[in-house]
C-alpha cells in the first residue's frame, strides 16, 4: 500500500470516511508539525492570509484553545464564536449562520455542535473547509487522531496493538473516532463498559465488546478511559457513579495489574475518582497531558491539509 502524495479532501468530518493511507498521511504530517512546537519561534507561514472561524455551538475549553493555537502557529487569522454569542440564539438556522460566516470570507470553519451530522451538513453546503470538532455522539476526528498519534509515538506500528476503550461508548464521539482509526490501522480494539452503554451492535464497527474490565486489564497495551458524562446520562443506564466505579473504574488495585508499558489515556476532562483514581491519573503510565500537546500538532496537520496547502513547505 502506498501513501498518497496529496490530500484531496476539503473537510475533515469523520475518520470513518478516511482510508488508512489518509490517516497515515495526517499522522505523518502531524509528526512534522510537532517539531514546530519545539522551535524557539513556534510559527510557520503555511496558512498566512487564511481566516479560521472557531464556531463552537457547544462549549469546550481544550479543543477550542487547541484549534486556536494550532491556527496561530500556522499564521492564520482566528475568530472565535460561541453559540451564546451568535445569532443562533435569535433563532437563525445553522445553515444561515454558516453562510454568513462564509460571506465574511472565512476559509476554514471549525464546528463543535451537539447534533450528530452537523459538520457534514455544513461541509455539503459551504465552500469553506469544515473541520469537525465534535458532533453530538458521532465523531471527534481530531481527538481520535491525537490519541492514535500518541499511541504511535510510543509503539510505532499499530498493527496488532491491544487497545481497550472503557466507559460510555454508546454516547461517545471520541470512542467512535478512536475505533475507526485504530481498526483501519490494524489495532485490536476492545470496548469495555456496562451492557447499557456498550451494546453488542458496536461490534459492527470492527471492535470486540466486553462488559468485564478484568478481561482486558492484564493484556491491554493501551487503556483509554472515557469520561462518564453523567450530565447527559439518564438514570436508567446505570444506578450510580459509585457502582460504575466499582465495576469499571481504573482503581489503584486494578492499575496494579496492568502491564508496565501500558499507556493510560483519557480525552479529558477527568472525573477523578469515577473512571480513574486520582493516584492513577497522576501515575507513571498516564499520557494524558501528552495527548493534549499532541493535539496541537494533529490539528495543525488537519488545518494545513484541508486548507489546500498540501505540498507546501512546513
Amino acid at each position: 500500500m502506498t501513501t498518497p502524495v496529496t490530500w484531496t479532501r476539503k473537510d475533515l468530518v469523520a475518520l470513518d470516511a478516511l482510508s488508512s493511507d489518509e490517516i497515515t498521511l495526517l499522522l505523518d504530517t502531524a509528526k512534522a508539525f510537532k517539531g514546530v512546537g519545539q522551535r524557539t519561534l513556534k510559527k510557520v507561514p503555511a496558512l498566512r492570509g487564511k481566516t479560521l472561524v472557531n464556531f463552537f455551538v457547544e462549549p469546550s475549553t481544550r479543543t477550542r484553545t487547541s484549534f486556536e493555537l494550532a491556527a496561530h502557529r500556522l499564521s492564520a487569522d482566528v475568530v472565535n464564536i460561541a453559540a451564546t454569542a451568535s445569532s443562533l440564539q435569535k433563532g437563525e438556522t445553522l445553515k444561515d449562520t454558516a453562510l454568513n460566516l462564509q460571506a465574511l470570507l472565512a476559509d476554514i470553519i471549525v464546528l463543535r455542535h451537539s447534533s450528530a451530522g452537523a459538520a457534514q451538513f455544513l461541509a455539503e453546503r459551504l465552500q469553506a473547509s469544515v473541520i469537525n470538532a465534535g458532533d453530538g455522539s458521532h465523531e471527534h476526528p481530531t481527538q481520535g487522531l491525537l490519541d492514535v498519534f500518541t499511541m504511535r509515538e510510543r509503539f510505532g506500528d499499530l498493527a496488532g496493538l491491544k487497545v481497550a476503550i472503557v466507559g460510555d461508548i454508546l454516547f461517545s464521539r471520541v470512542a467512535r473516532s478512536n475505533v475507526h482509526a485504530l481498526v483501519k490501522l490494524g489495532a485490536d480494539v476492545t470496548l469495555v463498559g456496562p451492557t447499557t452503554l456498550v451494546p453488542r451492535s458496536l461490534e459492527s464497527l470492527g471492535a470486540k465488546v466486553t462488559h468485564r474490565i478484568d478481561d482486558v486489564l492484564e493484556s491491554a497495551q493501551v487503556i483509554n478511559l472515557l469520561r462518564i458524562q453523567h450530565e447527559r446520562q439518564r438514570k436508567e443506564y446505570f444506578p450510580s457513579l459509585g457502582e460504575y466505579t466499582s465495576l469499571f473504574g481504573l482503581t489503584k488495585a486494578r492499575a496494579a495489574r496492568i502491564r508496565p508499558d501500558c499507556l493510560v489515556m483519557h480525552p479529558g476532562p477527568i472525573n477523578r475518582g469515577v473512571e480513574i483514581d486520582s493516584d492513577v491519573a497522576d501515575g507513571p503510565n498516564n499520557v494524558i497531558l501528552e495527548q493534549v500537546t499532541n493535539g496541537l500538532a494533529v490539528r495543525m496537520a488537519v488545518l494545513y491539509l484541508c486548507a489546500g496547502n498540501a505540498g507546501a513547505a512546513v
Binding site: K95, S137, H138, S201, S204, L205, R234
Partner: protein, 422 residues
C-alpha cells in the same frame, strides 16, 4: 347529461372480482351498465382501469401550516398519484379534535379539493392522550375514523375506553404505534447504523409493544383496531398470529418502509428521517411477506409535507416525515409487483381501493354499477423518473427525487371528470 366511455382497457375491480378487457361507462358521475353513445371517449388500450385509488393516511397541513401543504395542493398531489380519495389525519393546528375544525376542513375541501377528502378526528383532546375528544359530535360533523396519529395514546385505560366508546358510533380506531418510554428521543432505527452515526435509536420493540397492546385491547373489547404505518417485522408476526385466532386487528404499510433501509441515513439527509423510522432488509422481507400472505391488507402513504427550510437543519432538529402521494403507487407497483413478485396487480389494486374503503366504510373503491365514478387509469409497465421540481406540493421533502420506477398512474377521474392526466 354527460356520458364518458373508457374503452379497450383492462378493468380490474377487486370488489367485484372482475379482471377483463372491457369498456367502462360513466354517466353523470356514476358508473353505469352501458349507454348508446358517449360525449367523450378515452382509449385505455394497454392500460388498467381501476377504481379510484384511496389513501387512508395523509397529512394535509390545513388548518395551521399551509406553508407546507394546503388541501388544494395536497389533493393536486393526490390526483397526480392516481388517488381519488384521501383521508386526512387530525394533527393539524388547531388539532381536529372538535366538530368546528372538522367542518372547517370539509368546507375548505369543498372549495379547494381536486379529489374526495375524508376526515379523521382525534381520539383525545389536543392529541394529549388524556381525555377523550367529543367523538359523537365529530361523527356528526363527518369523520370516518378516530386516531391520534403523530402521537400514540400511552395510557392503556384511555385507549380501552376510546375503543369501547367508538364502537357506539361504528367508527374505526386507527393507531400510531409508539411506546414513548422505550423510544425516548430516538430518531432512527436502533441498530448498526444508529450506533455508527451516533444517533439515538428507535427500536422495533417501541412499535411492537403497542401493537401487542392493541391486539389485547381489540380482543378484550371485541372491537377493531387498525395499526398505522407498520415497520417492524415483529409487528407483522404479532398481527399474523392474532388474526389467525380471530382478533379484529389490521395494519398498513407505507412505500418508503419497503423501499429504503436505515442505511439511507448515513449521509444525515433529513429526507430519510421519518416516524416510524426506516428499518432493515430483515424487516422489509417480513413486511413484504405480510403483504403477500394477507396479514397486511392495506397500503398507505403517510404523506407528510414539510417546508424545505424546516428540513434543511441539523438532523435531530428536523421534523419527521416525507412526501408520499405522487410516488406511492409507483413504489408499490415497482417493489411488490415487478421486483419482488409478492403480489399481482389485482391484489395491489385491492389494497389501495376496496380494502381501505371497507375499513372506513366509504362508498368508494369499486366500479360497481351505481357507484361514484372515481376511476384511475394505470400503466403498470411505464418506466418513469420522479422529478421533485414538478411536484404539486409546495414542500420538497422526498428522498425519491431522481429515482426510476416501473408503474404509474396516468389519469385520475373523480365523479366522472378527469382531474389529472399525464
Amino acid at each position: 347529461m354527460s356520458t364518458l366511455k373508457i374503452t379497450n382497457g383492462r378493468i380490474i375491480d377487486p370488489a367485484n372480482q372482475r379482471d377483463e378487457i372491457a369498456d367502462l361507462w360513466i354517466r353523470d358521475g356514476v358508473i353505469v351498465d352501458d349507454a348508446t353513445s358517449a360525449h367523450e371517449t378515452i382509449d385505455a388500450k394497454g392500460l388498467v382501469v381501476a377504481p379510484g385509488l384511496i389513501d387512508l393516511h395523509v397529512h394535509f397541513r390545513e388548518p395551521g401550516q399551509s406553508h407546507k401543504e394546503t388541501i388544494g395542493t395536497g389533493t393536486a398531489a393526490a390526483a397526480k398519484g392516481g388517488f381519488t380519495s384521501v383521508v386526512c389525519m387530525p394533527n393539524t393546528n388547531p388539532v381536529a379534535d372538535n366538530p368546528s375544525t372538522i367542518s372547517w376542513i370539509h368546507e375548505r375541501a369543498n372549495d379547494m379539493a381536486q379529489v374526495n377528502v375524508f376526515c379523521t378526528g382525534a381520539i383525545t383532546k389536543g392529541l394529549k392522550g388524556e381525555e377523550l375528544a367529543p367523538v359523537a359530535s365529530m361523527k356528526k360533523a363527518g369523520i370516518v375514523a378516530i386516531t391520534d396519529d403523530g402521537h400514540c395514546v400511552q395510557n392503556n385505560e384511555v385507549m380501552r375506553r376510546a375503543l369501547e366508546y367508538a364502537r357506539m358510533f361504528d367508527l374505526p380506531l386507527l393507531d400510531h404505534c409508539q411506546d414513548y418510554g422505550i423510544v425516548g428521543d430516538g430518531i432512527m432505527h436502533e441498530g448498526e447504523w444508529s450506533v455508527r452515526l451516533g444517533l439515538p435509536g428507535w427500536p422495533r420493540i417501541g412499535e411492537e409493544l403497542i401493537v401487542m397492546r392493541n391486539i389485547m385491547l381489540a380482543e378484550l373489547c371485541d372491537s377493531p383496531i387498525h395499526c398505522q404505518h407498520l415497520t417492524s417485522g415483529g409487528s407483522i408476526r404479532l398481527i399474523r398470529e392474532a388474526k389467525a385466532r380471530g382478533v379484529k386487528i389490521s395494519g398498513e404499510v407505507c412505500p418508503h418502509h419497503i423501499a429504503l433501509t436505515d442505511e439511507s441515513l448515513k449521509g444525515y439527509d433529513s429526507n430519510y428521517k421519518m416516524n416510524p423510522p426506516l428499518r432493515t432488509e430483515w424487516d422489509i422481507d417480513l413486511l413484504i411477506g405480510g403483504i403477500a400472505d394477507g396479514t397486511i391488507d392495506i397500503l398507505a402513504s403517510d404523506h407528510a409535507p414539510h417546508a424545505p427550510y424546516e428540513k434543511e437543519v441539523e438532523l435531530d432538529h428536523a421534523p419527521f416525515g416525507i412526501l408520499g402521494l405522487e410516488t406511492e403507487f409507483a413504489i408499490f407497483c415497482d417493489v411488490l409487483v415487478h421486483k419482488r413478485g409478492a403480489i399481482d396487480l389485482p391484489r395491489l389494486v385491492e389494497m389501495l381501493t376496496i380494502n381501505p374503503a371497507k375499513l372506513l366504510r366509504l362508498d368508494r373503491g369499486t366500479l360497481s354499477v351505481g357507484a361514484p365514478a372515481d376511476v384511475t387509469l394505470l400503466d403498470p409497465d411505464a418506466e418513469w423518473t420522479y422529478d421533485l421540481t414538478e411536484t404539486a406540493s409546495p414542500s420538497r421533502n422526498s428522498p425519491f427525487h431522481g429515482h426510476t420506477f416501473k408503474g404509474r398512474a396516468v389519469r385520475t377521474i373523480v365523479a366522472g371528470k378527469s382531474v389529472w392526466a399525464l
